[in-house]
Symmetry: C2
C-alpha cells in the first residue's frame, strides 16, 4: 500500500492510494492515523475518493526523528573514516520536516548541502526490541533529504545545530508499506541537483539496515508509531567534493527512490 497525507478541496486528510485514486482514511493526517491504527487497517478504506488530492508531508507530527550518519560504505570513505562498529545517531524535530514539493526556504549565506536518504516509518511501540521485533514493527518506508547546514554542523563537535533547521528536510511523497518494499533487496537512492545526478547508491550497501537501526535505538529510547528513522546518505555530498559545492538560490533538488517516489524541492534564500 501507498499511504500519505493529502491536501484536497475540502482540507487535509490521511489517505491510501488504491488503483489510481487516493481514498480518505479516518484521520487528519498519517501521523494521527498511525497513532491509532496499525498500517494494515488502511487496506480496506470506506472513505471518500479524492480526485483532486495532492500529497503533502506524510508525517507532520512524529514524536521522534532520529538520523543515522555515515551508513553507506562509500560515503564513510569520502569523509575519511573507517567502517563503524556502532551507528552514529543525531536528532531532528517534526519542525525540521517539510513537504515533498515545498520550497526549502533558508537564510542566504548558509552552506546548504544535499543528503538523499531512505527513511523508515515506525509502525509499533518498540522498547528494547530485538531485530525480529524491530523488523515486524516497521510500518513502511519513505524518501527524505537531510538537507544540512554544513557551516553550522561543523561549528562545534555536535552536528545537531546544522541538522535541525525548521522546514529544511523534505519527506514523502508517500509511505510504502513494508510488505511492498524491501530495502534489503536493494533500492536505489538518488539525488539530482538541477537535473545533474549527484548521488546514487543501493540500500543493500547500508552498514546498519532498517531493522538493526530500530533495534539499536529502542535500547535507549522508546519508538512509537509514526516516528521516523533516517538511514543515512550515500557518497556524493557537496561538502566532500573538490572543490566543495553548496546549494544556491533557485537550485532544484530531486530525491528519488524508485518504488517510493520523488521529492522535488527548490531552494530559496530568504533575507
Amino acid at each position: 500500500m501507498r499511504l500519505g497525507t493529502v491536501r484536497h478541496a475540502a482540507g487535509t486528510t490521511a489517505a491510501v492510494f488504491q488503483g489510481d485514486v487516493w481514498r480518505a482514511l479516518p484521520a487528519p493526517d498519517l501521523s494521527a492515523f498511525l497513532a491509532t491504527a496499525p498500517p494494515d487497517r488502511a487496506a480496506d478504506p470506506d472513505g471518500q475518493v479524492l480526485h483532486d488530492a495532492v500529497p503533502v508531508l506524510p508525517l507532520p507530527a512524529p514524536g521522534k526523528v532520529i538520523c543515522c550518519g555515515l551508513n553507506y560504505a562509500d560515503h564513510i570513505r569520502e569523509t575519511g573514516r573507517e567502517l563503524p562498529e556502532f551507528p552514529t545517531l543525531f536528532a531532528k524535530y517534526a519542525d525540521t520536516l517539510t513537504g515533498p514539493h515545498d520550497d526549502v526556504v533558508l537564510p542566504s549565506g548558509l552552506q546548504l548541502d544535499w543528503e538523499a536518504e531512505l527513511a523508515v516509518v515506525v509502525g509499533a511501540t518498540l522498547r528494547g526490541a530485538d531485530r525480529a521485533t524491530a523488523l515486524a514493527g516497521i510500518a513502511g518506508y519513505t524518501v527524505a533529504n537531510d538537507i544540512s547546514v554544513r557551516d553550522w554542523q561543523y561549528r562545534t563537535l555536535q552536528w545537531f545545530q546544522g541538522k535541525a533547521w525548521d522546514a529544511s528536510c523534505p519527506v514523502g511523497p508517500v509511505v510504502v508499506t513494508a510488505d511492498e518494499f524491501d530495502p534489503a533487496a536493494g533500492a536505489a537512492v538518488i539525488c539530482r541537483v538541477n537535473g545533474e545526478e549527484t548521488q546514487r547508491d543501493s540500500t543493500k550497501t547500508l552498514v546498519f539496515d532498517a531493522a538493526e537501526l530500530l533495534a539499536y535505538v529502542s535500547a535507549f529510547t522508546v519508538l512509537r508509531p509514526g516516528d521516523l528513522v533516517l538511514t543515512g546518505t550515500p557518497g556524493g555530498v557537496g561538502a566532500a567534493r573538490q572543490p566543495q559545492r553548496f546549494l544556491a538560490d533557485g537550485d532544484l533538488v530531486e530525491t528519488e527512490i524508485p518504488g517510493i517516489g520523488t521529492l522535488r524541492n527548490t531552494v530559496r534564500f530568504a533575507g
Copy 2:
C-alpha cells in the same frame, strides 16, 4: 513564583506554591498550563489548596529539550578544550526526563555519570529572537541532572545516544519564575553523590548565558512555551576524574541550586 506539577490525593495538576501551600492551576500539568497561558497568569489562582501535594516532574511534555555542552570555563578545561566561539548543542526528549525524587533505573553495566545543570524554561514562542526578546521569553528556571551514559556517548562522534536514555534526566522540583531568580547574578550549581560534593560552580561563569542560548537556538528552530534548554554542567564529572568514577547501584545523586531546590534521585540497575 514557584510553579510545578504536583501529585495529590485526587490526581495530578499544575500548581503554584503560595505562602506555604500549593494551589491548583487550571491544567493537568505545567507543560499544559504554559502552552495556554503566560506564566504570570498563575499569580492569582482561584484553584483548590492542595495540602497533600508532592512535586513531580514539572514539565512532562516539552516539545524540545535542547542541551548545551561545555559551557562552564573549568569544565571545558577539564575536557582539554579551549573556550568556544559557539555553543555545543544536542537534543533530548520528553521521554528522557524523570521526576525530582524518582529512582533513575537503567541497565547495569553502563558508565553512568552526573551532570548538574541549570535548566531554562521557555515562556514564549521564539523565532529568530534577539537577546532582549529571548530574555523576555524566559518563563523561569529549574534544576536538571543530565545523567549521561558515557560509554554510549563516546561510541561515535555524536553524543546523542548517551544523552537520550528514557527517564534518565531528573528535572524539578519546581520552576522559579524569571522575576524571582536571575542566574546572571550567580547561583550555585551543586552535585552531591552519597553526600559527597562532586560539583559546584556559579551560573555567572556560564560562557553562553540563558538569553544567549535561547536566541542562538531560535535562529534555526522555533522554541515554544514549556520547552527546556539545559545550560551545561560545571567541572567535576566522574569521567574526567583520575581514576574515572561512575555511578553504582544504590548511589544517591543530589542536585541543588539554592533558590530553586534539590533533586534527590537514587540510581537503580535493572537487569
